[in-house]
Symmetry: C2
Subunit: 527 residues, 2 copies
């Protein structure tokens, strides 16, 4: 049942007076449940519980934490249709997407469960004592990764499951041994509460400490701000806009004790078409990109919002075909009226910039909250000069930049803001002749793609979802894949510590059988 209350550890609570409802963008009406925003008192209670829970949770074995993560996945499946219909009612997204995202969320939880059950992820390093070393004996040193403390997670509007309440940030934080306080996303508060109930039940069933998880409602920015400023909060995960992420980063940086903020923010995901690829396959690529630009109503963080190429007949043909193809795709519903209105405003702003020519624009009447996709074209010179054109238009919009020559193209790439992805479209053997372009693009992105589309983020160890600022606030970490756990851990060394009191990961016997670096050699052997 969706109660509209805050989940504070094992309790439900609604002491506040600020209330709100979620919105069904397809029906263009509010949903029924009334959600009560968390009060200062409730926020402090959740953080105090998390801080106490951390003392216990950080000592719980990988196997037991894995059982917790698997139980969350199981409980999410138990929610069944209720979850799917709530998800759909709060996002306007179709059933297939809801189920797909649920599968992804469960997959992430189970992957982290597997990772911590196996245990080698802690990067154990052991340098045994050398009592006979001259001039001084060497002490015994052993190091492993340990959790940093309570983490606040801000979910994404566009991924109510996979990047929200029990999404990658929460799953990786739990896996590391950190309690989590979710600042619930107001647009899908009901979906969030259902997932919160699954986590709460899983935590109780698997004997996790009270306070290992809380879910706090919020309709504005105050709850999140209070959480990030709280002295007992030790890290922040965020997925959303550059403005929102930067505000949290600045807040965290100003604390007496600054804390890490991993914010995955905006990206326009440049796609570079090399000349020969446009000469021979411009129509095919145009069709592929018409799909990628409109996929999920353009509401993916990896949406291709920028297409770069040298001027050519091939490029003209590409743009014409892309324009033709994209208008044939039926407009789709956006997540929320606010997102729809931001899209309309930002698209119009981009289209109205000097020297920007709109090539395709669905301007027939569509239902409320449905997005009218568009493609526009501009010269390289104008793009270089006008930073407004570098800003993300969140939705099914893409800007094509016609460059004078390869030098201008490289200059544009080198001066781009940091991006989640960059894509090179090339004929066979063509890319090898464009090292400068590839290197410039590599330095601006987190993931580089060959002859594909940036949409689609596989959850595998080799995925990097992040990138140079402002794609993320710290390019040294990823939000997706097993390495996402590294955001919430710190290395910790034991010097001359009694073997029996060491964590299992560092004991001589290697009881967990994990891979360790012993005397600078990787091994699963006991000492």
């Amino acid at each position: 049942m969706i109660t509209g209350k805050n989940y504070i550890g094992n309790s439900l609570s609604a002491k506040g007076t600020i209330t709100y409802k979620t919105f069904n963008p397809k029906l263009n009406t509010e949903n029924d449940t009334i959600f009560t925003e968390a009060t200062s008192e409730e926020i402090n209670e959740a953080v105090a519980l998390a801080s106490e829970a951390f003392k216990i949770f950080q000592t719980i074995s990988g196997a037991r934490k894995a059982a917790f993560l698997n139980a969350i996945a199981d409980e999410i499946l138990v929610l069944d249709d209720k979850l799917i219909t709530t998800y759909m009612s709060e996002t306007g997204l179709p059933e297939g997407r809801a189920k797909g995202e649920r599968g992804r969320t469960i997959g992430q939880l189970r992957t982290f469960a597997g990772l911590i059950e196996e245990g080698s992820w802690v990067e154990a390093r052991i340098d045994p004592a050398q009592p006979d070393r001259k001039p001084m004996p060497r002490v015994d040193l052993r190091k492993m990764l340990v959790p940093i403390g309570p983490i606040v997670v801000f979910g994404a509007s566009n991924f109510p499951l996979a990047y929200s309440t029990a999404g990658g940030d929460t799953a990786s934080a739990f896996a590391s041994g950190c309690p989590v306080i979710v600042k619930s996303h107001p647009m899908h508060a009901g979906t969030g509460e259902l997932i919160a109930s699954a986590i709460q039940k899983a935590a109780q069933d698997t004997g996790m400490p009270n306070g290992v998880f809380s879910n706090l409602n919020s309709s504005g920015i105050e709850v999140g701000q209070q959480l990030v400023a709280h002295p007992k909060v030790k890290g922040v995960g965020f997925t959303g806009s550059i403005r929102g992420g930067r505000a949290l980063l600045d807040l965290a940086a100003k604390r007496p004790e600054p804390i890490p903020v991993f914010a995955e923010m905006g990206s326009i995901n440049p796609v570079v078409f090399l000349p020969k690829a446009l000469e021979t396959k411009s129509s095919n690529w145009a069709k592929t990109y018409a799909s990628s630009i409109t996929l999920g109503t353009g509401q993916f963080c990896t949406n291709p919002g920028l297409i770069l190429a040298e001027k050519s007949e091939g490029l003209t043909n590409f743009v014409d075909t892309l324009a033709k193809e994209i208008v044939t795709i039926a407009p789709q519903c956006m997540l929320h009226p606010n997102i729809h209105s931001a899209y309309s405003t930002n698209k119009a702003r981009a289209q109205s910039q000097k020297n920007v020519e709109t090539k395709a624009n669905v301007d027939t009447v569509v239902a409320d909250n449905y997005a009218q996709q568009a493609v526009a074209v501009v010269s390289g010179k104008t793009f270089l000069e006008n930073k407004t054109l570098h800003e993300e238009v969140f939705g099914p919009f893409s800007l094509v930049v016609e460059c004078e020559n390869a030098t201008e193209l490289e200059e544009i790439i080198a001066n781009l803001e940091g991006q989640l992805t960059g894509t090179i479209i090339s004929e066979e053997n063509e890319v090898a002749g464009h090292t400068h372009i590839v290197n410039a693009l590599s330095n601006r992105v987190g993931r580089i793609i060959f002859n594909g589309v940036p949409t689609g983020v596989e959850v595998v160890p080799a995925m990097l979802h992040g990138g140079p600022y402002p794609a993320s606030t710290d390019s040294r970490f990823t939000a997706v894949g097993r390495d996402a756990i590294k955001r919430w851990v710190r290395p910790f060394s034991y010097q001359d510590w009694p073997n029996e009191l060491l964590p299992d990961e560092l004991k001589n016997e290697n009881p967990l059988g994990i891979l360790r670096l012993v005397n600078d050699q990787e091994t699963k052997e006991a000492l």
Copy 2:
């Protein structure tokens, strides 16, 4: 020869008008060389060169970068006596320490050379395509660590070699593929220049790009500030005071593009004596700690500045013996008059706090710049209330806190600022009964020591030198040991990239024979 000039890539330059000299604290006189502070123009030149050099340096193989690091080590040895005498003249430290630190510096360079020559440090992950996966084929993804760009290094006053010009920050940044600009420490500018000349020669001899290294003189804070604010600088390494480190962190956080700052700052390195250890071995431990507190004139970042224990006869005996022992140690010279005067001021401030009792104080007349060691005692209650007593007194001073009981002891530990190290002194089997103390201490420190002293930082993979704020600005990284390289790298993914164009680390054939995670399994096999 020491010229007093700035090293900007392969050139020497002295365009400025601000000059300064270093100081010989033992002779209490200035040294001869006149150093010229870098101008804005020279700073910009160094950064522009570094940024261009990065384009090439980031593509250079591990084997070639290793040759560069080894050449630096060789060139440092070539400096021979000139380096040792200059070091001594700028620090007041003895020859044995100079040679020991040189050995450590060379060891670090060669260790990083070995690490990158072997190559597995890049954490290669490969998830091959699954063209037949349903409902969608899976793309091929490959990830590895790549350098982030030009790094600015601020050396430490107390380690002119191992934590300065060619110290751990520089060695790890070079190893990662990042160019380095050193903001030379004004107290040992001559030592710094000699090392800079070694790096410059090594870079030229091994064919590294011009600008891979620069060394800029500075007597104040302006050069460092301009460097950290420069848009083309991508990371900062710092060793020094909390005030200095925090100022740089704040500056970096306010940039349009924030950059990571790893600052290793202050620490008072709490040592907790358990009751039985004091009952039986208080005199032995007092002698050991009299040595540790005065080692290197107390000028180590891991100096034990805080001793915590429950009130007892054993503790009284420990304090009396410590007081007796410490005054028998001959006062030693400090690094610089400024450091000596800060020590005197900070020691006097601590000693003059309400309820603080001085137990040992060398107050006989000593030579200029020689430190008079001291030990003081205070109650747990006073220590909890008075945060001034938590501040580092850089030098041979330690504060003993007499706690009422174990509860107060745990409360004090839980409320301590973050620390580099924490130490537990215990009788055999005693520590197992004090889990709360150990857990509380573990959450406040980067390294925990059993029955030893915190001074002495081994350079091994299992060393963690860092800790919760303010011991360092980001507890997720270490300044010492092979993992220090992780501060300067980011993961980078290739999607469906042609095999022949991938870096060697990610090619199917695994030409470097490195350990990789392929399909979630660690292996050195080819695909």
